[in-house]
């Protein structure tokens, strides 16, 4: 298609349908329309050629809301597939707000990966943020509301950093184009931070853990597909080969493993696993060779498929049983055989069992790390592979479907859910069997042989002996039990540490441990915890109506202040 207009851009079907869905009362028409959207969008994508760009004047700048190259195409197709699966999975939902939000969210993710300038990127970035929070709030619990608010604030902060960075770049270079950004300027760091929040860099990762498990069954499937992958895309575009990413990635693959192992909420386990996997991609982008970038992008592709499959199967369990804690589940294979099989396929794929999707991409990054003599990073990644198999491959499946029988007898989920899961599972297997198809989409030429003795044998050994460890652990009954708990993470800093420490710091300063300390502790306890509400709440000092007298006093004070300043 040569004539590019805004209406034929691939994100448009999403946005138009999102608005339309709000007004369609018939659920079958709505379902048909929603399912048609990703297909239409994919069709539009197929029509486009690589290397075209659409420009549009805005506020005196040339914006490029649509620009294509191989990297964009890969993510574009990926998001079309993912949104099709997610929509199919969520057809039973009656709440039209969720559908609208989901379509806006998916559409803006598609838009974001084709954005050719930072302002367009910022636009899609913000639409993603604002629409995705609805998927969390749709849970309609108080906790979901508070969590959604935290999520929203963090995501908007990322958007604002992106905007600030974009403006700094515009100010210094006069151009808004979104290409290689690099870390030469301050703006580069500001934007890296913006991307880093979305990509869940260590210490910035908490929103993933906080929000995904809180969202609805179907919302989590949408959420797991887009936000972090858009960030990976943006990093690949802007920061390929930035060394700092290697180390960030290395930390990122390791630390979530331990958390995933002790976590009880299975969707939270998957969230930790997601961070670890994104760490693989970040690492690959940081290494920056062609093979590494290919590996990172291919991992992203596979990851969307198998992670959505896993979120769907956990979602089905939650949907059918109403429980998601590992300690509450077990033995579900008896009544949910299809879900079990599909989940096992997803687990096999994420653990990179040969002949499944995950195996294709994982080796590329490891090989690239070795090529670049990054021994330590290579060991980290290898360690993470082993960990992934334990917490995602074994733990998820074992505790839910096998393990100790919980007595729950829930049936398999409705057909459309099974179909969506089946589709994702089929893709996992298909990519595993015919990696060439995926390789054709990758941004660089691929000369990487997936199935040779070395890779297959090494991986099988690794997996088998992790499994062996698990079996011995189970036989000896030494394994850590799954306990109901909250595990502290970075959010502890802002949810607990800051309020508490300020409160206690003053207590310690005061030598007399008697009345004084208690007085100050109480004072500060109220001050910090209730302080904001007290000052800004409806009857807070700063928000309630002051008596006229004190207002006039302020006038006098300010006038005095000005006069003093002006006279001297």
């Amino acid at each position: 298609m040569t004539d590019l207009s805004l209406l034929t851009l691939p994100f448009m079907p999403f946005f138009i349908a999102a608005l339309a869905v709000m007004f369609i009362a018939s659920s079958s028409v709505r379902s048909a329309l929603m399912l048609a959207v990703p297909i239409a969008s994919g069709f539009l994508l197929l029509q486009e050629q690589s290397g075209v760009a659409l420009t549009m004047p805005f506020m005196g700048y040339e914006l490029v809301p649509f620009r294509t190259d191989k990297l964009s195409f890969l993510f574009g197709y990926l998001f079309c597939i993912a949104s099709f699966i997610a929509i199919l999975f969520s057809l039973h939902v009656k709440d039209r707000v969720q559908h609208t939000a989901g379509l806006f969210y998916a559409g803006s993710a598609v838009g974001a990966v084709f954005a050719g300038d930072l302002l367009s990127l910022f636009f899609f970035w913000e639409v993603m943020t604002v629409s995705s929070v609805f998927l969390i709030w749709a849970r309609q619990t108080d906790g979901a509301f508070r969590c959604g608010m935290r999520y929203l604030i963090i995501q908007v902060a990322s958007g604002l950093l992106l905007l600030a960075g974009a403006l700094m770049i515009l100010h210094s270079t006069g151009s808004l184009a979104f290409n290689e950004i690099g870390l030469e300027s301050q703006a580069g760091y500001v934007i890296l931070l913006a991307f880093g929040i979305k990509a869940a860099f260590p210490l910035l990762h908490n929103w993933v853990i906080d929000s995904y498990p809180q969202s609805t069954v179907t919302g989590a499937v949408f959420l797991c597909c887009f936000t972090t992958k858009v960030a990976v895309y943006a990093l690949a575009r802007g920061y390929a080969g930035a060394d700092i990413l290697i180390y960030i990635g290395a930390v990122m693959v390791i630390f979530p493993i331990f958390y995933a192992v002790i976590e009880n909420d299975l969707r939270r386990v998957l969230s930790y696993s997601m961070i670890s996997k994104v760490g693989f991609m970040v690492c690959g982008i940081g290494i920056g060779t062609e093979l590494a970038i290919n590996g990172a992008v291919a991992t992203a592709f596979n990851h969307v498929i198998y992670k959505s499959l896993l979120f769907m199967s956990m979602g089905s369990v939650l949907h059918m049983t109403g429980r998601i804690r590992a300690s509450d589940l077990g033995g579900l294979y008896k009544s949910m055989p299809l879900t079990t099989i599909l989940c096992v396929i997803g687990a096999a794929s994420i653990s990179a069992v040969p002949l499944f999707g995950g195996f294709v991409s994982k080796g590329m990054i490891l090989t690239a790390a070795l090529d670049q003599k990054l021994d330590f990073v290579w060991l980290c990644l290898l360690f993470a592979s082993a960990g992934t198999f334990y917490y995602a491959g074994i733990k998820i499946c074992y505790f839910t479907f096998f393990g100790q029988d919980s007595g729950l007898r829930a049936a398999d989920p409705p057909k459309h859910m099974l179909l969506a899961m089946g589709l994702a599972a089929a893709m996992c297997v298909f990519i595993g069997l015919y990696p060439a198809l995926l390789f054709g989409l990758l941004p660089f030429e691929v000369d990487y042989i997936v199935y040779d003795t070395t890779h297959v044998l090494a991986q099988l050994q690794l997996l088998a002996f992790v499994g062996l460890g698990f079996v011995w652990l189970k036989i000896s009954k030494l394994g850590p039990p799954d306990l109901r708990s909250v595990n502290l993470d970075v959010d502890w800093i802002y949810r607990k540490f800051l309020p508490e420490s300020i409160r206690c710091a003053l207590g310690l300063l005061i030598a007399d441990y008697g009345r004084l300390k208690r007085f100050f502790c109480d004072l500060f306890h109220q001050y910090i915890m209730g302080g904001l509400i007290r000052h800004h709440g409806p009857h807070g000092i700063l928000a309630r109506a002051w008596p006229i007298g004190s207002m006039v006093l302020w006038v006098a004070v300010l006038l005095f202040f000005y006069l003093i300043f002006y006279y001297f």
């Binding site: 709000m22 506020m59 005196g60 707000v97 302002l119 910022f122 636009f123 913000e126 639409v127 604002v130 929070v133 609805f134 709030w137 749709a138 309609q140 509301f145 959604g148 608010m149 929203l152 604030i153 908007v156 902060a157 604002l160 950093l161 905007l163 600030a164 403006l167 700094m168 515009l170 100010h171 904001l532 509400i533 000052h535 800004h536 709440g537 409806p538 807070g540 700063l542 928000a543 109506a545 002051w546 006229i548 207002m551 006039v552 302020w554 006038v555 300010l558 006038l559 202040f561 000005y562 006069l563 300043f565 002006y566 006279y567």
Partner: protein
């Protein structure tokens, strides 16, 4: 005939509403009074458009009131700074009147309707007069006309707290206006003239005196009260919160902006940027106050339980943005500030109109009234979401354009600029909190019995709300008109400094 009208456009602009206000009162009948007011508003709007076209085609326009030549007589002066304000004011005049027919019917007891419309027209006349006049003392007179009528408008509110709010506003407003009067007296004492252009010529020779400095201080503080700049903002939330919806819409969209207009006019046209920002440390003071305003306003907005109060506190914060732009005193900063004055008027107008729609249905606008509105009043909530996105500064809304220009302006100011950017961004974050909190309530909380049976607001109330919402989007998508107006306004202000 036509030529006579065209020659006297500046006078007509003010005189139309001023003249018809008493007639409106004499009509007594609600429908007739409304119709008259609405016709006048349309004429006023047409006049303002004509003036705007004239000014953009032929440059500044000077009109000698009553044939007395300036600087002796009163001069009406329309230049590229105030012409867009005239358009804004008369536009809001039309929109609010279109809204008020139904809304006033519900919120004000019958015999007072005509009174409301005439007070409203007087208020508009006063604000238009402030903007159009080129005479310093005339500013004071019009300021008092608009203030007195807005106290009346506020006291129309059903809640008894409207009375105390009006009284409070009256005291504060009178102090502010009197300060302005003192300031004008001081500069008259030093120069013997009241014409702004003439003042600008004569003031530089006496700049160094204490009297002029004191005059400047009095004018700044006096107008800061009317602008509701922190910490002198306390009258605002109750005044907007308890006023009848139609009055809140108009006052929130225009009144503080006009006061800020006066502040900018005196600072740049009369005193000159060199004096205000060179000899006087105005910049640091204003910046500190404005940034504080952003935080205090936004934080307070988050914890309010009444939507009108949320919006009013958000106004306090947004005024902070405008003052930041003004205090940067560069061309970019000033245009960003002026731009935000327009954009904020449009967005806040939209949001207060929505609050008015909800008020129309439920007789109150508390947050719990918004429960389930996403389903029962989808169009109303749609407009709210658009306006709210504007406040947050989402791309493709007017708010984004302001934020963009404000940040661009701040980038020229080195380290201070970074702090300002940080404040602006933090302010947007807080805006997310207070706007999206309401959206969550509207879309995800189940309505209780009272609100379950709520239905969509009447069409006639939705039209103005959506008009403003679409305007928000239009400015966001094609900001060239507003940006152009703001930039030429800034240019005319900075160009006219000696």
């Amino acid at each position: 005939m036509m030529s006579a009208i065209f020659a006297n456009l500046p006078a007509l602009q003010v005189i139309l509403p001023l003249l018809f206000a008493p007639i409106c009162f004499l009509l007594r009948k609600r429908g007739a009074a409304w119709l008259l007011a609405f016709c006048v508003s349309l004429c006023t709007f047409a006049v303002s458009i004509a003036l705007f076209m004239q000014v953009s085609a032929a440059g500044p326009l000077s009109y000698a009131m009553g044939g007395w030549d300036p600087p002796w007589g009163i001069e009406y002066r329309v230049d590229s700074f105030n012409a867009p304000f005239l358009v804004l004011l008369s536009l809001m005049f039309c929109v609010t009147l279109a809204f008020s027919y139904k809304s006033v019917e519900k919120e004000i007891v019958q015999p007072r309707h005509a009174l409301f419309y005439s007070a409203f027209m007087l208020c508009v006349a006063g604000l238009l007069g402030i903007v159009i006049t080129g005479d310093a003392f005339n500013v004071f007179v019009f300021l008092e006309i608009s203030s007195l009528s807005s106290y009346i408008l506020i006291s129309f509110g059903k809640d008894r707290r409207a009375l105390t709010a009006a009284f409070q506003y009256l005291i504060m407003g009178t102090i502010g206006a009197t300060f302005l009067l003192i300031g004008i007296g001081f500069i008259y004492m030093m120069t013997g003239t009241l014409n702004m252009a003439d003042l600008a010529v004569r003031l530089p020779s006496v700049m160094d005196t204490h009297t002029v400095r004191a005059a400047f201080a009095f004018i700044i503080v006096g107008m800061s009260i009317k602008v509701a700049l922190f910490p002198l903002h306390v009258w605002l939330p109750n005044a907007y919160g308890y006023a009848p919806s139609a009055a809140s819409v108009f006052l929130a969209a225009t009144s503080t902006k006009v006061s800020l207009y006066v502040l900018i006019r005196f600072t740049f046209t009369v005193f000159g940027a060199g004096f205000a920002f060179g000899a006087m440390p105005l910049q640091p003071i204003l910046l500190v106050l404005a940034v504080t305003a952003v935080f205090v306003g936004s934080l307070s907005a988050i914890f309010q339980t009444n939507i009108k109060h949320v919006l009013a506190y958000s106004s306090v914060a947004q005024i902070g943005y405008m003052v930041i732009g003004f205090a940067l005193a560069s061309h970019a900063g000033l245009s960003a500030g002026i731009l935000h004055m327009f954009n904020h008027a449009v967005m806040k107008g939209c949001l207060f109109l929505v609050a008015g729609c909800v008020f129309y249905r439920f007789r109150s606008a508390r947050i719990e009234d918004f429960r389930g509105l996403g389903k029962t009043m989808p169009w109303t909530m749609g407009a709210f979401v658009v306006g709210g996105l504007g406040l947050i500064g989402m791309p493709l809304t007017a708010g984004f354009v302001s934020k963009w220009y404000l940040i661009m302006a701040a980038l020229d100011h080195g380290f201070v600029g970074f702090l300002i950017i940080a404040a602006v961004l933090a302010g947007s974050l807080l805006a997310v909190a207070y706007v999206w909190r309401i959206v969550e309530v509207a879309y995800f909380q189940a309505p209780d019995e009272v609100h379950e049976n709520g239905k969509e607001a009447p069409f006639i109330l939705l039209v103005p709300a959506w008009f403003m919402a679409l305007l928000t989007l239009y400015i966001g998508i094609d900001p060239s008109l507003v940006v152009g107006a703001a930039e030429s306004a800034a240019l005319s202000l900075l160009g006219s400094t000696p």
